[in-house]
């Protein structure tokens, strides 16, 4: 497949002729995509995250994505109990966890069955033959053993009885057979460390800390890790030794970060920057719960977390907190978002600051809880009764969640308005290396409460921002009543006057529009600011679009990429940007929601490129689409 050629090259594609291999026994690669797959009980997420840490320490750029089964404890050996973890790492910029894998590690037949389609033709397949028993083959739906029946001929197959090797390695620890078996993942990790020339020390440290209370388990895992590594040395597989040089990245202190943690930390930062306590109201829901979990660990920052009785109570608690002068935040996913609609309208009407984070998942209804989607954009824009405009932001990468969470708090408190921040399951659970910002470089949030009783009424507006005064209970002399009934523009009292209602609807809309003066202009991520084709994306499709556009440009195609992080209001120059291109393509993980907004707002013939399969875009899909548009 030609479109794969520019992927950070797979081990098997690199050859001395390409000048990528040095004389040392390790072959140099630009990068690789590795996927670990096994039963939920096989510890693949741990293997993946430890491999990720070592990759980061080796100085590569990277992106990861876990693929959890929907069931909590699916029966062992079944295809629906398979858990996967993919990492893309390279000596150059990495924007996505990668399309197809160069290396697939499968711990059992079910993992092979469900993941083989994602391995490149000719890719390296490492299989634990010890798990390919008749019973497991049957559970995975194999009539014959694929490791032996020739059906894997198109791949570079490396079969190892990892089960047996692990048992032998950890024997001296005295663990039972069952417990020893659980060390398989570290044996596998040891082998992968050998293949990519990684240092084992940080993982050994991690194991010792993690199992400090069970020293025999710690010891067994370390034994397994070392044995896997030693296996590489002794088995005759040295042609699989690779090196991926460091990526040229900006100097600084780095860490790996996932979207939900970044969102939570962004909220902590915003609360510190605004010097205001923060109250999170939340009700557990996949994939948003980790924001609740993470914030609950940081109460030292003046953060209160409330696990409410439902999503309505969660958003109402946030509104109550804002009313009383804290930063009210709620985090949820689709079904919870649907429940919050009425309360959101209350926050619009009472003009209270509120941050609502929707970590989108597949819908409608319960939909695909563990899968990603971007189909809540129009809900965020319009999903309330009445004219109820709110600001809508979207983070574009795991690390960007940090900055957009701060931005959401900044806009909410400055304009006294609800701000919806959209992320999704892919950002929430995906990770990337993140340059740790210096706290001094973060934006200042200047929040002021009204204290002056002179001439006060609750809907007095700042002439610049149109924000009303934030007057909190307990303030001497500012007693007032607010509510969801329409208010008189001039006094803040209840009003049923027809003209006043129109005026209030318009001023609430105008207030959101004025934020456009206060947000960055639209930039071009990749390419130039005019030409034949502009690919416009939003949210988590950033990496796939950017890489696809980059590859097409490398082929000489006239295409550029703009990524919209502010969806309401849209950046003030976006219309001009769109107007400078002959065609506009909008790939989204929905049936065309941003394209609808762009078409109606700017009257541009934006072409929708929808995908709604619970999966992110592959780079190749977008690349093919661009080529189809420009080469036909």
């Amino acid at each position: 497949m030609t479109t794969e050629a520019a992927v950070p090259s797979s081990p098997l594609e690199s050859s001395p002729a390409e000048g990528l291999v040095d004389s040392a026994p390790r072959r140099k690669l630009r990068g690789a995509v590795v996927r670990f797959a096994g039963d939920s009980g096989d510890g693949m997420q741990v293997t993946g995250s430890q491999f990720t840490s070592s990759t980061a320490l080796a100085g590569n750029d990277l992106a990861t994505f876990p693929d959890f089964p929907a069931e909590i404890r699916a029966p062992a050996g079944t295809t629906y109990g398979v858990s996967g973890f993919q990492i893309n790492f390279a000596s150059e910029d990495v924007f996505t966890p990668g399309d197809a894998a160069d290396v697939l590690v499968t711990m059992n037949p079910a993992a092979l069955k469900t993941n083989l389609k994602d391995l490149k033709r000719g890719g390296l397949l490492i299989a634990n033959s010890g798990a390919f028993s008749t019973a497991n083959l049957k559970k995975a739906g194999y009539a014959t053993n694929p490791l032996e029946d020739g059906s894997l001929d198109g791949y570079e197959l490396l079969t190892i009885d990892i089960t047996k090797n692990t048992q032998a390695a950890v024997k001296e620890s005295g663990l039972s057979n069952k417990e020893s078996n659980r060390c398989k993942n570290f044996w596998t990790l040891g082998l992968m460390f050998w293949i990519y020339g990684r240092d084992m020390a940080p993982t050994i440290d991690w194991i010792e800390k993690k199992f400090a209370k069970q020293p025999e388990v710690a010891r067994a895992n370390v034994l397994a890790l070392k044995a896997g590594h030693a296996y590489g040395e002794t088995a005759e597989i040295s042609h699989y030794r690779y090196e991926v040089p460091k990526a040229p990245v900006e100097p600084g202190l780095y860490r790996n970060i996932g979207g939900n943690i970044a969102t939570a930390w962004g909220l902590v930062a915003a609360s510190q920057l605004a010097k205001l306590p923060l109250v999170l109201g939340a009700y557990p829901i996949t994939p948003a719960s980790d924001v609740l979990h993470e914030l609950s660990r940081h109460k030292q920052f003046g953060i209160s977390t409330i696990q409410a009785e439902d999503e309505i109570a969660a958003v109402c608690a946030a509104i109550g907190a804002s009313y009383a002068g804290n930063i009210g935040v709620t985090a949820t996913s689709g079904p919870g978002m649907a429940l919050k609609g009425e309360a959101l309208g209350l926050a619009v009407s009472t003009e209270l600051p509120l941050v609502i984070i929707n970590i989108q998942r597949g819908g409608p209804s319960t939909g695909l809880p563990t899968k990603t989607e971007q189909a809540d954009l129009l809900q965020a824009m319009y999903g309330r009764n009445g004219e109820a405009p709110v600001a809508v932001l979207a983070a574009q990468s795991p690390g960007d969640c940090f900055y957009m969470a701060i931005e959401a708090v900044r806009l909410a408190t400055k304009y006294m308005a609800p701000v919806i921040l959209l992320t999704d399951g892919y950002l929430a659970n995906g990770t990337e290396p993140w340059k740790i910002p210096d706290v001094a470089d973060l934006p200042r949030l200047d929040v002021q409460f009204r204290t002056d009783p002179e001439g006060f009424h609750p809907f007095l507006r700042d002439p610049e921002t149109l924000a009303r005064a934030w007057a909190i209970p307990g303030t001497p002399g500012l007693r007032h009543r607010i509510g969801g009934l329409e208010k008189d523009y001039d006094s803040g009292h209840i009003s049923y006057d027809p003209a006043n209602h129109e005026r209030m609807c318009k001023v609430r809309a105008e207030k959101i529009e004025r934020m456009a003066r206060d947000i960055p202009e639209q930039t071009i991520e990749e390419g130039v600011d005019s030409g034949k084709l502009l690919v416009v994306g939003w949210g988590s499709t950033y990496g796939a679009i950017r890489e696809a556009v980059r590859r097409c440009r490398a082929r000489g195609l006239d295409v550029s990429h703009a990524h919209v992080r502010y969806l309401n209001p849209l950046p003030r120059n976006l219309g001009d940007v769109l107007g400078r291109f002959e065609r506009v393509l909008v790939p989204e993980l929905n049936l065309g929601q941003l394209s609808l907004l762009l078409r109606s707002r700017y009257l541009v013939p934006a072409e929708s490129y929808p995908k709604i399969q619970g999966q992110p875009f592959r780079i190749a899909e977008i690349e093919d689409k661009i080529r189809q548009l420009l080469e036909s």
Partner: protein, 344 residues
């Protein structure tokens, strides 16, 4: 907060707003408002530290008429809004005005959780056994067979008794009173105000437009004595024209029975005051029996049915936060640098 300086000087008038009160003439809400405005100045809480929060309904208009801070929110959600208010500022004195539909139909879930959490708020439930604002549909407290616009053939569903609901939800303070009985209502309001935790007070409120006379069978002068049992902690549970009727526990049925002092009971023994139960407001089992007495075989129990002191949600939340603050500095840079990092 300046709790110390202001008390006593405040009067009823200080609590009234300039807004026209928009309830129907004759509505029981007026007398509740008047009694609340009478009691509040006594509490010694500065006006600026009081917040009235309500949902939607006639009763939920209440905050507009109180010259304090006020938040008229959405139908059923006042306890949830209050949850956030108290989390942000537990020093505020927070009062909820709610109706039987608001509190027990659309907002039943929030009320349940407010009670079990023991959020430090006062809840006044205006029970008129009807949906007033939407013009007269039956409510979750309407009696079976209620004929309304939405139930022309009579309602068929079992009503819920607010006080026993509150007890079932582990409410730490459960009381009952009547809109027009000023003395009793102000007594109950004072008790509610003094309680730390969710002080749940059900007030029978006459909706003279859509459910007039709903409580006449025990509220009217002629029935009052015979059909109201005014409970008081430590006092025998006596009622009746001559105050000669009492409640006795039947140990075999674990139920209450009405007995008459000086008269022989079913087994021929003459009843004395020793036989009559003494009200113990800290006993949830007794409170439950009192709340659920069938009417008119038994009187309606009014007063503080149950009261216990237990930790409040907001105080516990703050304590936990304070402990976390004492244990660890709020160092944002350190948080961002925590865990695995590497220098490039």
């Amino acid at each position: 907060m300046s709790n110390v300086i202001q008390p006593a000087q405040l009067t009823r008038k200080d609590f009234a707003t300039d807004q026209d009160v928009r309830w129907c003439p004759g509505c029981g809400d007026y007398s509740i408002l008047a009694n609340v405005q009478r009691v509040m100045p006594e509490l010694g809480i500065p006006l600026d530290d009081i917040v009235w929060i309500s949902g939607i309904g006639c009763s939920s208009r209440f905050p507009y008429y109180m010259n304090t801070y006020g938040f008229h929110t959405i139908h059923g959600r006042a306890p949830a809004i209050a949850l956030g208010v108290k989390a942000a500022n537990p020093k505020l004195s927070v009062w909820l005005a709610t109706g039987d539909g608001d509190a027990l139909s659309i907002g039943g879930n929030h009320l349940l959780h407010c009670l079990r959490r023991n959020l430090d708020v006062k809840v006044l439930l205006f029970n008129n056994r009807i949906y007033g604002l939407t013009k007269g549909q039956y409510s979750p407290t309407s009696e079976v067979g209620k004929i309304t616009k939405s139930t022309p053939l009579g309602s068929t569903d079992q009503p819920v008794d607010p006080a026993s609901f509150a007890l079932g939800a582990h409410g730490s303070f459960v009381a009952r009173s009547i809109d027009t009985e000023a003395q009793h209502l102000t007594m109950v309001l004072r008790r509610a105000a003094a309680h730390r935790g969710t002080a749940f007070t059900e007030i029978y409120q006459n909706c003279n437009v859509f459910n007039d006379g709903a409580f006449e069978s025990f509220r009217s002068k002629e029935h009052q004595k015979e059909r109201q049992l005014l409970v008081e902690h430590g006092k025998p549970l006596l009622f009746g024209e001559q105050n000669d009727k009492g409640l006795r526990l039947n140990p075999r049925t674990l139920g209450l029975e009405v007995v008459t002092l000086g008269a022989p009971d079913a087994s021929g023994n003459v009843v004395t005051e020793q036989d009559v139960l003494v009200h113990d407001e800290t006993n949830p089992a007794l409170a439950y029996l009192l709340a659920r007495m069938p009417f008119p075989e038994f009187p309606v129990a009014l007063g503080v049915l149950f009261a216990e002191q237990r930790p409040t949600y907001d105080a516990s939340l703050w304590e936990q936060n304070e402990r976390a603050k004492a244990a660890q500095p709020a160092d944002l840079g350190a948080l961002l640098r925590s865990g695995n990092t590497w220098q490039v």
